[in-house]
């Protein structure tokens, strides 16, 4: 369709309205030409008879009611896909930023994706070794999982994500390779540079596809960025058979952008001003992780979000936690103690871990050991609370042992250096070594047979 509509009837922040439009459909993408040169993209978000409300992905600053021409494209937002995506850098709506020209499309796909049929999913079972003890040992990452990092401003989530990308491996003897899809929403320029540099230094740049919406880029654009990135990831995984690790950062900026647009549309807010469809919207992103039956590839997601005011009950981390298969929580107190990565293991969890570890995957004692470490470390908290009231010296010998265990666990098991890549054996053996600080009779989560083998009387 080549009809162009002249002028607008309303501009309100990122939203514009056109009247007298014909044949427009919901969710369709439109192209807007401003002053006959600048080209912008928009999406129809509401439509009544001949009046369409359009959300513009770029900023609307230089637009007026008369200087715009609008053309309907007749389809929802699409992304050009081919093998050549890897090694390229795009902006938040999938246009090349690296000056290498547009992708020659092997195929175009609707970025909104479609829900994956649960009967066509394959239940994820293979673990990904990250070389980080707190993750491998206690919140094991599984291929096809969505495992977010809940962080706060100033915590080293970027380093952690970079370390995972660098060290992730599918097991010692696997020849399969990872490719990485990196989506930045409202990211600071320095942080984006940091990731670029890390990818280059570790020699994976040619396997990375980046979609960058930086902090000063248009807010509305970042609403589409994760969808664009996941479309690329799904294509590479399910049609090209690659194992894709998707890093989405920062989901908080994505949700903030949603609130901003929702409020300019005059919608009824639900929690903290976020729109009622925040959950649905987040889930259409997170649920795109997984494995499709009959395909050799997989999409594993590591979304990063910064919890406003470190509050895990804030709607963004809260709703995320209800959708994702666990979470890795970073902790400011641990960070203050100089422990890297500052992972607070107690609220951290990997829901898919139970089926991807143990005999045949990692080692038969893995689950019991993890349970025991969690349980014993939880007791450290009680001992510390008591110590802060009556003083460490007054504690019973057992509680003192727990304090000792707590310190060793944090500095040696959780703590490791940015370049340290531990094998799963190392991690598990280290766990047993630390448990030997506390008496054997305290280990009530471990099967007696396993206990005899790893903690003989």
């Amino acid at each position: 369709m080549n009809i162009e509509y002249m002028g607008l009837s309303e501009i309100n922040g990122p939203l514009i309205a056109i009247e007298g439009i014909r044949g427009a459909s919901y969710d369709e993408i439109v192209e807007i030409t401003v002053n006959q040169k600048e080209r912008k993209l928009g999406k129809i978000v509401e439509i009544y008879e001949d009046r369409a409300v359009i959300q513009v992905f770029q900023n609307t600053d230089n637009m007026s009611l008369t200087n715009c021409r609008t053309r309907l494209t007749g389809h929802p937002m699409e992304l050009a896909l081919s093998d050549a995506l890897l090694g390229r850098t795009f902006n938040g709506v999938g246009e090349p930023l690296d000056g290498q020209g547009a992708i020659i499309a092997e195929k175009r796909a609707d970025v909104n994706g479609k829900p994956l049929n649960p009967v066509s999913r394959e239940y994820p079972r293979n673990y990904i070794r990250t070389g980080i003890s707190a993750i491998d040992g206690l919140t094991t990452l599984i291929r096809g999982q969505k495992l977010p990092i809940f962080s706060g401003n100033g915590l080293p989530h970027d380093q952690l994500a970079a370390q995972i990308v660098r060290q992730a491996s599918l097991g010692e003897d696997s020849k399969e390779e990872f490719a990485i899809v990196f989506a930045a929403m409202g990211l600071k320029y320095d942080v984006a540079e940091y990731f670029k540099k890390t990818f280059e230094e570790s020699g994976v740049s040619s396997h990375v596809c980046m979609f960058l919406n930086l902090a000063n880029d248009p807010v509305v654009e970042r609403l589409i960025t994760p969808k664009v990135a996941l479309t690329a990831a799904e294509y590479l995984a399910f049609e090209k058979g690659k194992h894709i690790l998707v890093i989405l950062t920062d989901m908080t900026s994505f949700a903030e952008a949603m609130r901003e647009v929702s409020s300019s549309r005059g919608e009824i807010p639900s929690r903290k001003g976020y729109p009622g469809y925040l959950y649905s919207e987040l889930s259409t992103i997170y649920e795109r992780a997984g494995i499709v039956q009959g395909s050799t590839g997989s999409v594993t997601q590591i979304p990063i979000l910064t919890m406003p005011n470190d509050d895990i009950t804030h709607p963004i981390p809260d709703l995320t936690g209800y959708i994702t298969e666990g979470q890795i929580v970073l902790d400011r107190t641990l960070n203050g103690k100089g422990i890297y990565p500052p992972i607070n293991v107690l609220p951290s969890l990997s829901r898919l871990m139970k089926d991807g570890i143990g005999k045949g995957y990692t080692r038969e004692d893995h689950q019991d050991l993890a349970n025991q470490l969690f349980s014993s470390y939880a007791k450290v908290g009680d001992a510390r609370a008591l110590a802060s009231v009556i003083g460490e010296d007054e504690l019973s010998p057992l509680d003192q042992k727990y304090l000792e265990f707590g310190r060793a666990f944090e500095s040696r098991f959780v703590g490791q250096s940015f370049t340290e890549n531990r094998t799963i054996e190392d991690t598990l053996n280290l766990g047993w070594e630390l448990l030997k600080i506390i008496p054997r009779s305290e280990l009530d989560r471990v099967n007696t047979k396993i206990l005899d083998q790893y903690y003989p009387v």
């Binding site: 919901y26 509401e46 066509s120 999913r121 394959e122 929690r271 009622g276 259409t284 809260d318």
Partner: protein, 587 residues
């Protein structure tokens, strides 16, 4: 004449038709060229509002809306069990066949397989006068369940002709009926029922039987009745889904309807995989043979999520009418409430608490009241029990969905974050949870398990309560300063927590425990308490008692005594006596 309208506006899952239309409230409609399924939710002189059960991308003003003259209904016939449906009863396997791994829009598939033949035995003969609900025929639907084909509750009359026993598909007429007005109706095995209207019953009955789940903290401390309602609220990671899975696997209901409402896709895949492999311990049949899954994962359209709960309960009522005990797992009702909120927001209704619509409470009440033990229209006894997971925002139980749910359920299994953090599972907290069925079910336990079952339960609860009071002190000054009798209370409470309340879902013996073993375990723990108390009263410090490994031994009963070797439990009483003598002799 087919009623139709022309789309005027589209806003997310809600579409509008301008002008006066012939549609009726709750009517099912087809929207647009792709014939997306929708439902009429509001009517006024100049505007008809429709919610669409699929993505509305691509709909345009001017597209047609066609009425069906019937409310959103489910198809009820053999083939429901051992199947997985979406929120409006479309089988996901057929959708996968039609549109591939991803769910396309406007896929038109039959709810049930109309080609498959069933081995039907007729139960009526010409001349029989039948009322709604009468059993016309039976057919083995799965190895585990005999499907009873019933006359729709809306029909009544005299049977005119009956086909011989044999193999029939859902399309075939199996009998004909002359209605009271003289007209003749062909009866097939299929009936339709609108999802938002409860199926009629003859009478509600009193609740008197427990739904036995094999989970100690549920069966012993907070039992739910057959026909009862329970809520499992808990923040993320506290094990709502895990608990639901455990009940779905091991409870003694005949039929399980598992509704995955707005939850994770991988979880549904897991249930499907696991239930197709696991055997029902009682019958030896695969669990899927008694199970129906309804999956509206969080990325599937929001309006169908709202409907999925009703679809599930209507299927449950249908099997209840055959005289079965049905249990529904609704995971999670919060997602359903949020779907209500989302749609309410789109309709620009006045929000009440936290943006939820004001009718949230009445909708929840109407849903939970569809549970119950009933006498069916054909005189059988059947029940629907509802176990609803609640995902409170921020894990805070004071939010509207939890609070309103609490008003309408009689069993509350509150999950606790700190228990989950220390990996104490099931993380159901014994102090915040309650069951109002204790008085109704107490007599059953005392008659069928042991005369002093309820007394033992009381003592266990009492010890746990004492522990929590003592822990307040311990938190301030440490446990060393407590007198020995109180130290003993803490020690026994520890045995209860680790040995009794904690249950390992991944351990073959511990995942499901018979009532008799639960009772014996309580007895042993209480016996250990009595004997130790005697020693403490004689002046023995708890530290000396602890030198003996009897406490650890009692904690390990759950793993050490197989469920089919309960006679081994007697040995523990002897061991406790030996421990008593030993301590006395040595001190």
């Amino acid at each position: 004449m087919t009623k139709q309208g022309i789309i005027y506006g589209v806003n997310g899952p809600v579409i509008y038709i301008k002008g006066k239309t012939e549609f009726q409230m709750a009517e099912m409609v087809y929207v647009g060229k792709e014939r997306l399924v929708g439902e009429v939710i509001a009517l006024s002189r100049n505007l008809t509002t429709i919610q669409v059960y699929e993505e509305t991308t691509g709909l345009a003003p001017g597209d047609e809306v066609i009425g069906t003259d019937a409310p959103i209904s489910v198809t009820l016939a053999p083939g429901i069990l051992n199947n997985i449906f979406d929120g409006i009863e479309r089988p996901l396997a057929s959708i996968a066949k039609a549109s591939g791994a991803y769910i396309a829009r406007g896929v038109s598939v039959d709810s049930l397989d109309y080609e498959k033949s069933w081995d039907v035995t007729l139960c009526v003969k010409p001349g029989d006068v039948v009322k709604g609900g009468a059993i016309l025929a039976t057919t083995p639907e799965t190895k585990a369940i005999v499907h009873k084909v019933m006359l729709s509750p809306n029909l009544a009359g005299t049977i005119v002709s009956v086909m011989p026993n044999g193999s029939y598909t859902l399309k075939d007429t199996i009998a004909t009926l002359q209605k009271e007005d003289g007209s003749i109706v062909d009866l097939t095995m299929v009936q339709k029922w609108p999802i938002r209207i409860p199926r009629p019953t003859a009478a509600r009955e009193r609740i008197s039987l427990p739904l036995i789940t094999g989970q100690r903290i549920l069966d012993t401390l907070f039992p739910i009745a057959k026909g009862g309602t329970a809520a499992i609220p808990g923040g993320f990671g506290t094990g709502k889904t895990m608990n639901q899975h455990q009940i779905a696997k091991w409870s003694d209901a005949d039929i399980i309807i598992y509704i995955g409402c707005g939850e994770r896709g991988n979880e549904m895949t897991q249930v499907l995989e696991e239930f197709s492999q696991l055997e029902d311990p009682k019958s030896g049949n695969l669990l899927m043979e008694r199970t129906t899954l309804i999956a509206n994962t969080s990325n599937m359209p929001v309006a169908a999520r709202e409907a999925s709960i009703y679809t599930g309960i209507t299927l449950a009522e249908y099997y209840r009418d055959m005289g079965y005990d049905v249990a529904i797992m609704a995971d999670s009702t919060s997602r359903w409430a949020e779907a209500l909120r989302e749609l309410s927001g789109r309709l620009e209704e006045m929000p009440a608490e936290e943006g939820f619509p004001a009718y949230l409470a009445s909708r929840l009440a109407a849903f939970y009241e569809r549970a119950g033990m009933v006498e069916t229209l054909n005189g059988e006894e059947g029940s629907v029990s509802i176990i609803g997971a609640v995902s409170p925002q921020g894990g805070d139980f004071s939010e509207p969905v939890t609070q309103n749910t609490k008003r309408f359920v009689r069993c509350f299994w509150g999950l606790d974050k700190s228990l989950a953090y220390s990996r104490h599972f099931p993380a159901i907290h014994w102090l915040t949870s309650y069951s109002e069925y204790l008085d109704d079910l107490g007599p059953w336990y005392n008659e069928n398990v042991a005369g002093d079952f309820m007394d033992c339960r009381m003592k266990i609860v009492e010890l746990l309560n004492q522990e929590s009071t003592l822990m307040e002190i311990v938190k301030l000054i440490g446990s060393d300063v407590l007198p020995d009798d109180q130290k003993l209370t803490l020690e026994i409470a520890r045995v209860i927590r680790l040995g009794f309340l904690q249950q390992n879902a991944f351990h073959p013996e511990d995942t499901c425990v018979p009532l008799q073993k639960q009772y014996q375990m309580m007895k042993i723990i209480l016996y250990l308490y009595t004997k130790s108390k005697e020693l403490v009263e004689m002046g023995m410090p708890v530290s000396i008692l602890r030198e003996n490994n009897i406490f650890e031994k009692v904690i390990a009963i759950k793993y050490d005594v197989p469920n089919n070797r309960l006679d081994a439990l007697d040995q523990y009483f002897k061991d406790i006596d030996a421990f008593y003598e030993d301590v006395l002799a040595r001190n």
